[in-house]
Amino acid sequence: MSVKELEKSATLEHAGDGHFHGDGILGEQFETLEQQNTSYLIGMWAFIVQEVLFFGAIFTAYAIYRFKYVLEFTLAHHELSVPIGTLNTFVLLFSSYTMARAVRAAMQNRHKKQAFYLLLTFLFAGVFMVNKYFEYGAKFEHHLFPGGDYDAHTIVEHAEKKGELRVAEENGKEVYELGKTRDGQFTVFKKVTPEEFEQRTRLFFGFYFVMTGLHGLHVLVGMIIIAILIGRAWIDHMKNKPVADYMPVEMTGLYWHLVDIVWIFLFPLLYLIGR
């Protein structure tokens, strides 16, 4: 092969074997579209497995401490807003639905419809992030972000009001008694020093911010990819392209469902249990 031919073959796929090279969709390294598509799918699933282990490790750590410090964590749970969490759960579930519709539209080469559903997905994701913003904001306001000015007072006050914590004194030192009030009678389950209480609730919020933060980062990345896909679908629509590669949407769909599933686990583990 001469240089000229080489360069040509590099740009026009490595053809010459009479295969269909699908409108520039088929990557140079592949023989058939079927091979390319299943490669992308296996690759995406491998990536998802990787994500499961990534989140799995931190879920494990969370589970251990939730078990170890169950009373402290329960009180900290109460500071999270169930309405916002529920709203966000539904928002993400809907976004998964619209994403599935977008994938379907892409498979049928209905570019406009695809762009429309992707846009909806993008908007839902946006709503999710805005909610998160307000949620995080409220935590900062109450000094519940585990930074320099972390302060467990809010938790203590709320818990006192609900009769799940009592401030007492032991050997001239302040202690928190954690327990339950039934029929006006307070039963003590566990005594902790204010420092311990502060550390352990701080740990809870540490997990909360790391886990939801990593998840939020995944949502943001997803939004960027979806925005690009919207642009591509719209261009395909304007150009009236008969066939477009649906794999990018399919793979983004898989990714998006993963993001959704992670939230489906985060929501009960952080917001719901212990109520």
């Binding site: 092969m1 240089v3 080489l6 360069e7 073959s9 590099a10 490595h14 010459g16 074997d17 009479g18 990557g27 140079e28 390294q29 023989e31 091979q35 299943t38 490669s39 296996i42 690759g43 491998a46 990536f47 497995v49 990787q50 994500e51 282990l53 990534f54 989140f55 799995g56 490790a57 931190i58 494990t60 750590a61 251990i64 401490y65 410090y69 585990p146 930074g147 311990e196 550390q199 352990r200 701080r202 740990l203 540490g206 997990f207 790391v210």
Partner: protein, 557 residues
């Protein structure tokens, strides 16, 4: 630029058909990405080696006179972090996996060439973070980053180093995903699973570990960085955390990670042993499945690093038992290699010398692993120089010997030049002798109780330490030689134009030009024979089909 593309008269190859810097830094060609990795990790090997030299020089005398204990701590940390995360983990997979694996299975490239390049950029970015952390005062946590020291006490840019390892980790995950898919989907017609060269099987097992293990250490180290920044008590007991949890999560990756370092080397040894004994690898199926077995069992033994750090005794018993089990597939491989050489027509070229060296050293490393896996002996030996000797026998005697075997074996294919055989043999000999001289005394030192990670020691251990330091200079010379003569050979080495200078079997030797065509094969080859079919020298492993005439207006035209 006129010189941007190839203007010579010979057939252009992947090295010279484009020569601009951009054509290298933006290449999607798996062979070029392999070379990029080769150059990058060679730099880190040199840096890590420098740190090792400092360590050995300090230990040449019992008194801590060359380095303060503080600098010494930084030195062994730099050595460990660089050698493990920036050299051994990417070494064979990213260099020879990239260069050779697609050729071996008859593919034009890996499944995801762009991800492949991204992997190199992630790796380089991560490596730069680590380097910055080291040059801005260094870190002294050890490569294991044990908490609470790393999370609450250590000074310096620990978090930056962690970010660097995080990035390099994702580079490794990308490589793993790429090879998994490549092996599943990119095999040429006729290249069935049981016709695959054993290097490919080893790479498959390695990729599984990379994908399943690396994310865990990534998030774990990230949590250490978070704990450092926000004082959240995940791992520090003073803050309510649990350091044992850190060790569980760390070793859940880092034990399997030792198999990321050794399995590809084992794959290389299978290739080299059969090529230089001119025999099919004995017990092909056993060797193939033992790679998978090692990968799977390797995930169940991490607790053997925690026998004496507070893990429950009952957990220890289980981990001890499982650790012994993992030695079985390793032994299967070793016996099968020996059976391959047995009655083979052995050729004593450099790659074969390294392969033989591997077998001897790996056996010692693996057997001492069994000593360590017994809980009672472990209590005596843990955290001593016995550990240091054990893991150097496997990682250096195994991993790096395999790497050097691969480097010499595929060098003519990669560069179109032969390395000087005499110098190669000399270096292999120096490495073997120097290695044993350096690390064997450390077994004895460890047995006598010399702890690891201290910069001074009592007088009575001086002799063995001097031996070890002397050995390390021989070993250093052994490593320096290839660096020199391989670079030299790029310009002055004997030109290799024939496809198969070793007379080996395999698509990369029989059907690929030397150096390879940018597209590897003119057309996708068709494989007709199993791997290592030395019994039928007249029948090629596969062939490149003639172009099909294009039928216009035909049934599918």
């Amino acid at each position: 630029m006129a010189t941007a593309t190839y203007t010579g008269t010979d057939k252009p190859n992947y090295l010279n058909w484009k020569t601009t810097v951009a054509s290298w830094l933006l290449t999607y060609d798996h062979k070029r990405i392999g070379i990029l990795y080769l150059v990058t990790i060679s730099i880190f090997f040199a840096l890590g080696g420098l740190a090792a030299a400092m360590i050995r020089m300090e230990l040449a005398t019992p008194k801590g006179d060359l380095l303060t204990s503080d600098v010494y701590n930084k030195m062994f940390t730099a050595h460990g972090v660089i050698m493990i995360f920036l050299f051994l983990i990417p070494s064979i997979p990213a260099v020879f996996g990239n260069f050779a694996l697609p050729l071996m299975i008859g593919a034009r490239d890996v499944a995801f060439p762009r991800l492949n390049l991204l992997s190199w950029y992630f790796f380089t970015a991560g490596a730069l973070c680590v380097l910055v952390a080291l040059f801005r005062g260094g870190i002294d946590t050890g490569w294991t980053f044990y908490t609470p020291y790393s999370s609450s006490f250590a000074k310096g840019e620990v978090s930056l180093a962690i970010v660097g390892i995080f990035l390099a980790g994702f580079a490794s995950i990308f490589t793993g995903i790429n090879f998994l898919v490549t092996i599943h989907k990119m095999r040429a017609p006729g290249m069935t699973w049981f016709r695959l060269p054993l290097f490919v099987w080893a790479m498959y097992a390695t990729s599984l570990i990379q994908v399943l293990g690396t994310p865990v250490v990534a998030i774990t180290l990230l949590l250490v960085a978070v704990e450092r920044s926000f004082r959240i008590g995940i791992f520090d007991p003073n803050l309510g955390g649990d350091p044992i949890l850190y060790q569980h999560l760390f070793w859940f990756y880092s034990h399997p990670a030792v198999y990321i370092m050794i399995l590809p080397a084992m794959g290389v040894i299978s290739e080299v042993i059969s090529a230089f004994s001119k025999r099919r690898v004995f017990g092909y199926h056993f060797v193939a499945f033992s790679s998978l077995a090692i990968a799977i069992i390797g995930f169940l033994v991490w607790g053997h690093h925690m026998f004496s750090t507070g893990q429950s005794m009952y957990a220890g018993i289980v981990f001890s038992f499982l650790t012994w089990i993992v030695a079985i597939p390793s032994a299967i491989k070793t016996f099968n290699w020996m059976a391959t050489i047995w009655k083979g027509r052995v050729h004593w070229e450099t790659p074969m010398l390294y392969a033989l060296g591997f077998m001897g050293l790996f056996v010692i490393g693996g057997l001492t692993g069994l000593h360590l896996a017994a809980m009672a002996t472990n209590v005596h030996l843990t955290d001593t120089y016995f550990i240091v000797a054990h893991f150097h026998y496997v990682m250096v005697g195994g991993g790096i010997m395999g790497y050097l075997a691969a480097l010499h074996f595929w060098w003519p294919k990669m560069t179109g030049r032969m390395y000087p055989e005499g110098w190669g043999k000399l270096a292999a000999l120096l490495v073997f002798v120097g290695f044993n001289l350096t690390f064997f005394p450390q077994f004895i030192l460890g047995y006598m109780g010399m702890p690891r990670r201290y910069h001074s020691y009592p007088e009575e251990w001086a002799v063995l330490n001097v031996l070890s330091t002397a050995g390390s200079s021989v070993l250093g010379l052994g490593y320096l030689l290839p660096l020199i003569y391989l670079t030299w050979s790029l310009k002055y080495g004997k030109v290799v134009t024939e496809r198969n200078p070793w007379g080996a079997r395999g698509l990369e030797w029989e059907l690929v030009d030397t150096p390879p065509d940018p597209h590897n094969f003119e057309r996708t080859p068709i494989v007709t024979r199993p791997a290592y079919d030395y019994n039928h020298p007249e029948e090629p492993t596969g062939f490149v089909p003639k172009p099909r005439p294009v039928v216009v207006g035909g049934k599918d035209g």
